[in-house]
């Protein structure tokens, strides 16, 4: 019973904290550019404002267009129940890594459909670029998670992985873990449309990938899509922190373990957020046709992780 309560609490926390970390990311980027930047609570205000506004919907769109934000938000809700945050208990214990990857794919597919539904050229362009990247992201994401599962004895159950990694002690720090983690981090940037894959701050409609697909959304639909993409970043960061570097996570439901788990995950997610801010300040956006090279590098890393698992 206590596991269920803990996992629901952590799912709610992930949703509630997602805009905060988005705000911290923007603030950190602004400070690196010598700007004051908006408050770290600004994403909450933005989402709240959008939720109150009425929608302006393209005449060429069908019922699907209105339906998609709910599917996207729903899939992120489901994933937040499946992802460990401060404790290794997850409310949907039957979900495994493979189903997670394909819920992300569902989200992306729906977003591309939404971009096409709007009937503007930018939605179509963003969608085609997203699909090009998606084809390359999927194998490296799957393979890096498989390497992780291989490392912990073959289970792809999400709740088991942190437990087993910690149980293995220091021997877990193998090349396989580091390689898989690096590969996962690159896919994290690609999945979440960050620099160098996409520029989330751009005003240039011709270069947009993620924003291009959202360009026809407004009001509540846009609010939900924005919130979903913040949750996606949060879920990816938590996955990175709890699956690859789980130390500190609460394995029991005792208050002290939960407190340590909470403190450690917040610090880890904050570090990931700052790392993204640093990368976004340091790198230029890559040329579109250069992105497959980067994603191939990510795939190669996860493949190496897989190989090193068996030969080392």
């Amino acid at each position: 019973m206590i596991d269920l309560v803990l996992s629901v609490i952590q799912a709610i926390m992930m949703i509630a904290l997602a805009p905060l970390f988005a705000g911290i990311l923007n603030k950190a980027k602004a400070r690196m550019q010598h700007r004051a930047g908006s408050s770290i609570f600004q994403p909450y205000r933005d989402v709240a404002k959008l939720m109150r506004k009425s929608e302006n919907i393209s005449e060429s769109s069908s019922w699907l267009f209105r339906f998609i934000p709910y599917v996207c938000f729903g899939s992120m809700l489901l994933l937040s129940l499946m992802t460990p945050f401060f404790s290794a208990y997850v409310a949907a214990p039957y979900g495994d890594l493979i189903s997670m990857v394909y819920i992300f794919t569902l989200y992306r597919f729906m977003m591309v459909l939404g971009g096409l539904e709007g009937g503007s050229v930018f939605g179509g362009m963003g969608g085609s670029r997203e699909m090009m990247m998606s084809v390359l992201i999927e194998p490296s994401l799957l393979l890096s998670l498989m390497a992780l599962a291989g490392l912990t004895g073959g289970s792809t159950m999400i709740g088991d992985i942190p437990r087993e990694l910690i149980g293995m002690g220091a021997i877990v720090l193998t090349p396989a873990l580091v390689l898989a983690a690096s590969s996962f981090f690159i896919t994290l940037l690609a999945e979440n449309s960050r620099v160098p894959f996409d520029n989330p701050a751009t005003h240039l409609e011709l270069t947009m990938v993620h924003e291009g697909m959202l360009i026809e959304y407004s009001g509540r639909g846009l609010g939900l899509m924005d919130l979903s993409s913040m949750m996606r970043l949060m879920i990816f960061s938590s996955m990175f922190c709890t699956m690859f570097f789980p130390w500190g996570i609460a394995l029991t439901a005792s208050p002290s373990a939960v407190l340590i788990g909470l403190a450690s995950i917040l610090i880890k997610v904050l570090l990931v957020t700052l790392a993204i801010a640093l990368i976004e300040s340091y790198l230029a956006k890559y040329r579109l046709f250069r992105l497959p090279n980067l994603l191939t590098a990510s795939f190669a890393l996860s493949l190496l992780a897989m190989i090193s698992l068996y030969i080392l």
Binding site: R35, V121, R129, H203, Y282, A284, K285
Partner: protein, 468 residues
């Protein structure tokens, strides 16, 4: 001397052999019809006048490609049709002259085939930029053809200039393209001041103002290129440098873009020694910071990958389309009005004209960066050479044809005035952006759609200057 329109190609070719180039072409009403005025500039400025029989003449474009835009403009504004012109698309699709240009209907690109799509973009854009409609024909991401349709910010400036010469038209000239105010106003004043001897101090200060304008424009463009490649920190750095120049400008004349200080005969306000000393101090800092900024961008492999070979404008295309300014110089064309026909005090200062041969985004950025360094040196020379003295003199404007040509941050800026009986009867403005827009159409071919914004930014073209 009046020629026939059929003689024009030969005459223009003769001038070209003597190093003259076409800088402007327009139609003018005369009591019994129209004449074409062709302005050629080389060591000096020459005007060729040709009578048009009726409302049609044989197009010059097939022999002189640089005339294409002007012929389209003449058709839209005067209804004189250039027979045999290969490309009569509307030039300013929403021109105030309405139906002549075919109203609002923008034609599809003339390119067809399997998998070729047309992407219409604008005139309203996601960012705060000028209004322009672009039609891209793409096969996947690579651009096969791009056509720009402008004219959304047309105000009829040329007509507004047709006033008695005693009127102060400098405020209008400043508003042609707000960030090139000094260059436009200086070109306008040349048509009014004619051979009036301007006091030396005023000439030095005018040179200084023109160079300050160049510096802040170029810094803005460098920041824009960085921003469009998502290089956020150098972009913020560039905008900070630009801001420090704008603040200097405000100290000089109370306006951040240097409006209101230039007037016929000299200046409306002197610049004090303390301000001059501050300019000198600030510029030394900006010089090092600009080198830093360029260094940070050049050392970033991800930026260089975006900038090199992107949006290449070949030397041949730059010459054929008569591109001007930093865009032409980045394609290896050695052309600068300040060297060829010095105005203000450019004959008294030493400076280099940077040239880059490669014609890509990186070349245009490098030319701009080196021009900033040269401009700083010019300003320091002006401040050192400047002596106390009057800053304004009386102006006597004579009748006749006068052309004023200056080098704005975007390139050669031309103003032509026909003055009869103390009144301007025809005024023609050609902003540097006007001939550079077709060069942009040419440079983006073969690039991918997401690279267009950075190519566009590296050209740094003005919408309002083009639309007039």
């Amino acid at each position: 001397m009046m020629y026939g329109t059929d003689e024009l190609p030969d005459i223009i070719r003769d001038y070209s052999k003597r190093g003259f180039g076409l800088v402007c072409m327009y139609a003018r009403d005369v009591p019994d019809g129209h004449v074409l005025e062709v302005v050629m500039a080389g060591d000096g400025v020459e005007r060729i006048t040709a009578r048009v029989d009726g409302t049609m003449y044989r197009s010059l474009t097939s022999e002189i490609p640089g005339a294409s835009l002007y012929e389209r403009e003449i058709y839209e504004t005067s209804g004189i049709y250039p027979a045999g012109h290969p490309d009569m698309r509307p030039l300013r699709s929403r021109s105030t002259w309405g139906s002549l240009s075919g109203g609002d209907a923008i034609p599809h690109n003339d390119i067809f085939g399997d998998g070729i799509f047309e992407i219409p973009v604008g005139p309203i854009h996601a960012g705060v930029i000028g209004p322009g409609h672009f039609r891209f024909s793409v096969a996947g991401e690579p651009i096969l053809m791009m056509k720009a349709y402008l004219g959304y910010s047309r105000r009829g400036v040329e007509k507004l200039m047709e006033t008695p010469v005693s009127y102060d038209n400098a405020p209008i000239a400043e508003r042609i393209s707000g960030d090139n105010a000094v260059a436009h106003t200086l070109a306008h004043l040349q048509t009014v001041e004619q051979d009036t001897e301007i006091p030396e101090r005023a000439r030095f200060i005018r040179t200084m103002l023109a160079e300050l304008e160049r510096i802040y424009n170029h810094l803005g463009t460098m920041a824009g290129i960085a921003l469009d490649t998502a290089l956020a920190v150098p972009a913020a750095h560039g905008n900070m440098l630009r801001e420090s120049i704008l603040r200097l400008n405000e100290k000089i004349c109370g306006h951040r873009q240097l409006w209101g200080i230039l007037r016929a005969g000299g200046l409306s306000k002197d610049v004090s020694e303390t301000v001059l000393a501050e300019i000198e101090r600030e510029l030394m800092r900006i010089k090092f910071d600009t080198e830093d900024l360029a260094g940070v961008m050049t050392r970033s492999p991800s930026f260089m990958d975006r900038a090199e070979t992107t949006g290449r404008l070949s030397y041949e295309d730059a010459v054929r389309l008569r591109a001007v300014g930093p865009v032409a110089r980045a394609s290896g064309v050695n052309a600068d009005v300040r060297k060829m026909r010095p105005y203000a005090a450019y004959d008294k200062v030493a400076f280099d004209v940077p040239i880059c041969p490669s014609g890509d985004v990186y070349a245009r950025m490098t030319v701009r960066k080196r021009e900033i360094i040269e401009s700083i040196s010019v300003i320091i020379q002006c401040i050192n050479e400047m002596k106390d003295g009057p800053i304004c003199t009386d102006v006597k404007t004579k009748d006749g044809f006068y052309a004023g040509i200056t080098e704005s941050p975007r390139g050669e800026t031309v103003h032509c005035a026909h003055i009869e009986g103390g009144r301007i009867t025809r005024y023609k403005i050609r902003d540097a952006s006007f001939p550079n827009w077709p060069a942009l159409e040419c440079a983006v071919i073969g690039n991918i759609v997401p690279d267009f914004p950075v190519v566009n930014k590296s050209f740094d073209l003005s919408y309002s200057g083009n639309d007039l």
